[in-house]
């Protein structure tokens, strides 16, 4: 039992390590003093400053748009790939696909960014498209690496599914596409939603790949934050960080609460 105690202690120490820096950020975002480390009384003025920064607000818009479209594309691509991985027979094509889909999970970002950027340059040289780098090139880049995460999340769910329901539909003469849409999709919806949100947050957060493949017209939020943070700590960024941390926490807690309620209801329904 001794070891168990040690691991529980480590769990709480680890949790403290994960959360204390974020709590400090939130706390200091309400600091009136411009000096980030000196407490100068409570104030919400940095939030006001934040909403006056037009460059930052534009970047937020760009990033949210990009994240939305990248997440949608990634869910489609990733689900198709996951379906191939879990339902198709072994073939050379499947092997190649499975090689390509998991690699972006661990590929250092500088390599992915550089290689995609060089591809876009070569393409515009040879085909005349894309004329300049911007939203579209970042969208392609983000969809590609987010699809890998979606594939992992969705394939985990596809694996657990009872395949006899799909097979029954097929045996009864439903076309494969119809079976997929009417039987499989409703059963994997939670993982599709999870994959979408994961992609959305990954796209919203990416700095390195976007810096390589973006152009003058498309400055994302992390790019703006990075150029400001490079110069040092600023209370305005603390305020922005607080908004991000609180939004993400709220969404995560809400989705956790909803799934738990649903599970409880399902349990109750089974008992009755």
């Amino acid at each position: 039992m001794k070891k168990l105690k040690f691991s529980s202690l480590m769990l709480w120490v680890g949790m403290a390590f994960l959360y204390i820096p974020m709590i400090i950020l939130v706390f200091y975002s309400f600091n009136a003093s411009k000096l980030v480390t000196v407490w100068g009384g409570f104030s919400a003025k940095w939030y006001g400053e934040l909403f006056k920064d037009q460059q930052l607000l534009d970047a937020v818009g760009t990033s949210l748009t990009l994240a939305f479209f990248s997440a949608c594309t990634a869910v489609i691509l990733g689900t198709m790939a996951a379906f191939v991985m879990t339902r198709f027979r072994h073939s050379v094509a499947k092997l190649t696909l499975s090689n390509m889909i998991t690699a972006p999970l661990v590929m250092p970002e500088v390599i992915t960014g550089l290689s995609l950027m060089l591809l876009f340059v070569a393409m515009s040289d040879a085909l005349g498209w894309p004329k300049e780098r911007g939203m579209v090139t970042v969208w392609i880049a983000h969809s590609t690496f987010c699809a890998a995460y979606v594939a992992v999340v969705v394939s985990a769910r596809l694996r657990e599914l009872d395949r006899s329901i799909e097979e029954a539909a097929l045996d009864l003469g439903a076309r494969p596409l119809k079976t997929f849409m009417l039987i499989t999709v409703p059963m994997i919806t939670p993982s599709l939603v999870a994959g979408w949100f994961l992609s959305f947050s990954l796209s919203l957060d990416d700095l390195v790949i976007a810096s390589f493949v973006s152009g003058p017209g498309a400055t994302t939020l992390p790019m703006v934050v990075f150029s400001s943070v490079r110069l040092g700590v600023s209370p305005k960024i603390n305020a922005l960080a607080t908004i991000i941390i609180l939004t993400v926490s709220l969404i995560a807690l809400l989705s956790w609460y909803l799934t738990r309620r649903k599970e409880k209801r399902a349990k109750l329904a089974m008992q009755n």
Partner: protein, 301 residues
């Protein structure tokens, strides 16, 4: 056999396989060929800033492979040291994440079923907020007039502020902090499947707990340890943001060098050859990770 293949590749299936296949081929595989190509070209003041490696004139096709970029990487010890120190930092931070993450994952896997979900959520939550913001948080904590220094001064442990920000120590803290959740998740998913009766059997047969841990728990958790370690090690080798924001002038990491070659020196060929060598160094860890991941993905078959 042929009939089987025709069956598996009906028209719908061809699309299902074909679309992600072509997308990844074009936007993931082909780019590497282009990086390889440009790593053999010569830098030039032009748009794009490199010379073509082949030309066709007077009915002769010429392929010019410039090995200069690779020779430069071998001759200039700065690059060599950057690779070495990146690998070293990635190794030590992976070990650090493993030492902190394993007990945490173990505690979560042994917690009551109802608590496991909340604990996992709490571990993963920080990684869904911004990566950049989480690195930034440490700038305020570690700086000379930052919270940690003030705290240590107040405790009387140190007499004057210690230089912590812009050192390798800060880079380690930043890496372990941001990558810890990626270590815990795969460890948890193998540890939660661990059959407790095996551990009970070992202890009933008189095995001491440390012995049981090394001979039963560890071998059974091997898959999770490999996956978690690769999820940390590989991206850290190419890490740019953390050494840039938390590291100092003596922090040499290859991701940072590549970034500078590309953005500051606009030397695309050298940046490409740096990427190719990084990829060559990482091919073994990537294969290891891939083997684990595809086994996980195909378990249902």
């Amino acid at each position: 056999m042929i009939k089987n293949m025709l069956f598996t590749l009906s028209r719908g299936s061809t699309w299902t396989l074909g679309i992600p296949y072509l997308w990844l081929l074009l936007f993931f595989a082909v780019p590497f060929i282009i990086v390889l190509k440009i790593s053999f070209s010569t830098a030039a003041i032009a748009i794009p800033p490199y010379e073509s490696i082949y030309q066709y004139a007077d009915e002769s096709f010429q392929l010019i492979l410039n090995l200069g970029n690779y020779i430069l990487l071998m001759e200039d010890s700065m690059y060599y040291e950057a690779y070495l120190s990146s690998l070293k930092m990635a190794l030590f931070s992976t070990i650090g994440c493993l030492l902190i993450g394993f007990p945490m994952a173990y505690a979560i896997a042994r917690a009551p079923k109802s608590a496991q979900g909340v604990l996992l959520l709490l571990v993963m939550l920080p990684s869904w907020t911004s990566f950049l913001i989480r690195v930034y948080a440490w700038m305020g904590i570690l700086s000379n007039n930052g919270l940690l220094n003030n705290f240590l001064l107040w405790l009387g442990i140190i007499g004057e502020p210690m230089q912590m920000l812009n050192t390798n120590f800060a880079v380690y803290v930043g890496i372990i902090y941001t990558y810890l959740p990626f270590m815990i998740l795969p460890l948890y998913s193998t540890l939660v499947k661990l059959d407790m009766s095996l551990l009970e059997a070992a202890s009933d047969l008189g095995s001491r707990s440390i012995n049981t841990f090394w001979r039963i728990t560890m071998p059974l958790a091997k898959g999770g340890i490999i996956a978690g370690s690769m999820l940390v090690f590989i991206p850290v080798v190419g890490e740019f943001v953390i050494p840039e924001l938390l590291g100092g002038p003596d922090t040499l990491m290859i991701g940072k060098v590549l970034w500078q070659e590309f953005f500051n020196n606009r030397d695309w060929p050298v940046a490409s050859s740096l990427a190719m060598i990084m990829l060559a160094l990482l091919i073994i860890p990537i294969t290891l990770f891939h083997r684990y991941q595809s086994r996980e993905m195909e378990k249902g078959l």
